[in-house]
């Protein structure tokens, strides 16, 4: 098996209009920025984007919004914390204008829905969100006296992930807090595209240091990571 693609443009070329795409990254950490840029260039429309935030730390998503590529966003912390900075951000403006439909989940529920999809679990009960707007329209049920909400698996057509190291058969090793959403999104995506900073040969990553087994990854592409100083408001 050789899952290596020659570049990000080839790796995202087949994404059709209407696709759902999970994009990893917690603010600036572990965000596959070169894939987001390639998607903006590729131009697929009516996309459903599943990612923690629409802008903060992954400002390249703004280009997708400006291009009107996004129909719907599923997030857990979509906007800038500062109301004033948010008001001038493309995502918040698009949501306020009704140009992008948005669903927001608690952070743990968000990734658990992706984890369930990758793990063949159809749905699960979590106590998070009971008694809040999150419970609207959801089944509520008591387990051992504890109210829980039924949440369903969320399976994206594509997943964009990022890894410090990846080999040709898709085994990925993550680095420190850049791991975050990458393992569960990689498992959830029907087609998972991994942007890797270091492309290595099978065997170069110790088996116990593989954080994302290659079976979850369909495409591997070497990228130069944009350097940045992490910072966010």
């Amino acid at each position: 098996m050789d899952k290596v693609y020659p570049g990000v443009d080839k790796a995202v070329a087949d994404i059709p209009d209407g696709a759902s795409i999970a994009i990893s990254g917690f603010f600036t950490a572990g965000t596959p920025i070169p894939l987001i840029k390639a998607l903006a260039k590729q131009g697929a429309k009516n996309l459903t984007i599943i990612c923690m935030q629409m802008g903060p730390g992954n400002e390249d998503i703004n280009q997708l919004i400006i291009n009107k590529q996004i129909k719907k966003a599923i997030c857990n912390y979509p906007f800038y914390r500062s109301a004033s900075r948010g008001a001038s951000s493309p995502a918040e403006q698009a949501v306020r204008a009704g140009e992008i439909e948005m669903e927001v989940y608690p952070m743990g529920t968000f990734s658990e829905k992706l984890r369930a999809a990758g793990a063949g679990i159809a749905a699960f009960y979590t106590p998070t969100g009971v008694g809040t707007v999150v419970e609207q329209g959801k089944e509520k049920r008591k387990f051992g006296g504890l109210d829980c909400l039924l949440e369903h698996a969320l399976k994206p057509d594509y997943a964009f992930v990022y890894a410090y190291k990846g080999d040709r058969i898709g085994n990925l090793s993550c680095h420190k807090t850049a791991r975050n959403y990458n393992p569960e999104m990689a498992a959830a995506g029907k087609i998972t595209i991994a942007a890797v900073e270091n492309l290595v040969e099978p065997g170069d990553i110790e088996g116990d240091m593989v954080h994302i087994p290659g079976v979850y990854v369909q495409r591997v592409v070497k990228v130069e990571r944009p350097r940045y100083i992490p910072t966010i408001d």
Binding site: V95, G129, T177, R179, P183, P230
Partner: protein, 228 residues
């Protein structure tokens, strides 16, 4: 409408200190964004392990400029450092830990806290977003999952409105989860009988605190000055 009068209380840093004093050694703690983050300045050297919810345990102090690593940040996107015994895991594992009851304490900010311990903190309706849209982030999971929830906040809003209320009017983060409320003015415990005022900021009286608190406070027979 300014419903409360202006009282001089503790700085944000001293609110954080009061909370740090309340944390027990040998425990795991998650600190939210805002005043809670400042608690970390007061626990260096303490036997307390901090979780960063993006996937790290034993989070170290903020990184100095030459220590900055782009793959090593906390949940507020600040560059941090490692300690001996730091470890990393996925965000999903992090919230498994949180929901699973492994955080002894979560210190969170709040917009409103009710006398029943309801917490409203994830969305300020004044921002004008749809009612189900906003930055929920990890707040709901932490509020439900942590064994003890301590709220760190200013006692009233910038324009003098109550934040400790009979019933939250803002969107809830979770119901009946708050254990302690630590503000610039007071240290209050949420009890089944109501809010127990245990400490007041230096120079203040119980009546002062009551005047800026909507629900009726139970005054502790042991009422003290805040333990700094």
């Amino acid at each position: 409408m300014n419903v409360t009068r202006k009282l001089r209380g503790l700085s944000r840093e001293l609110i954080a200190l009061r909370i740090a004093n309340e944390l027990e050694d040998g425990t795991y703690v998650n600190l939210g964004i805002g005043i809670p983050t400042l608690v970390s300045d007061w626990i260096e050297g303490r036997d307390i392990i901090l979780q960063a919810e993006l996937g790290m345990l034993n989070t170290g102090p903020l990184a100095s400029r030459d220590e900055v690593e782009q793959d090593l940040i906390n949940a507020s996107c600040q560059p941090v450092t490692e300690l001996a015994g730091s470890c990393f895991f996925s965000e999903n594992e992090s919230f498994a830990m949180i929901r699973g009851g492994y955080m002894d304490t979560a210190v969170l900010g709040a917009l409103q806290v009710s006398e029943k311990g309801d917490l409203a903190g994830w969305q300020n309706p004044e921002r004008g977003l749809p009612e189900d849209i906003g930055n929920i982030g990890g707040s709901m999971d932490l509020a439900v999952g942590a064994r003890k929830v301590i709220i760190a906040m200013m006692h009233v809003t910038n324009d003098g409105q109550y934040k400790i209320v009979k019933n939250c009017s803002y969107p809830l983060t979770a119901r009946g989860v708050v254990d302690l409320i630590v503000t610039d003015l007071a240290f209050i415990e949420v009890t089944p009988k109501g809010l127990l005022l245990r400490e007041v900021a230096p120079g203040l009286t119980a009546e002062d605190v009551q005047s800026v608190t909507e629900p009726r406070l139970i005054i502790s027979p042991d009422l003290k000055e805040m333990q700094l």
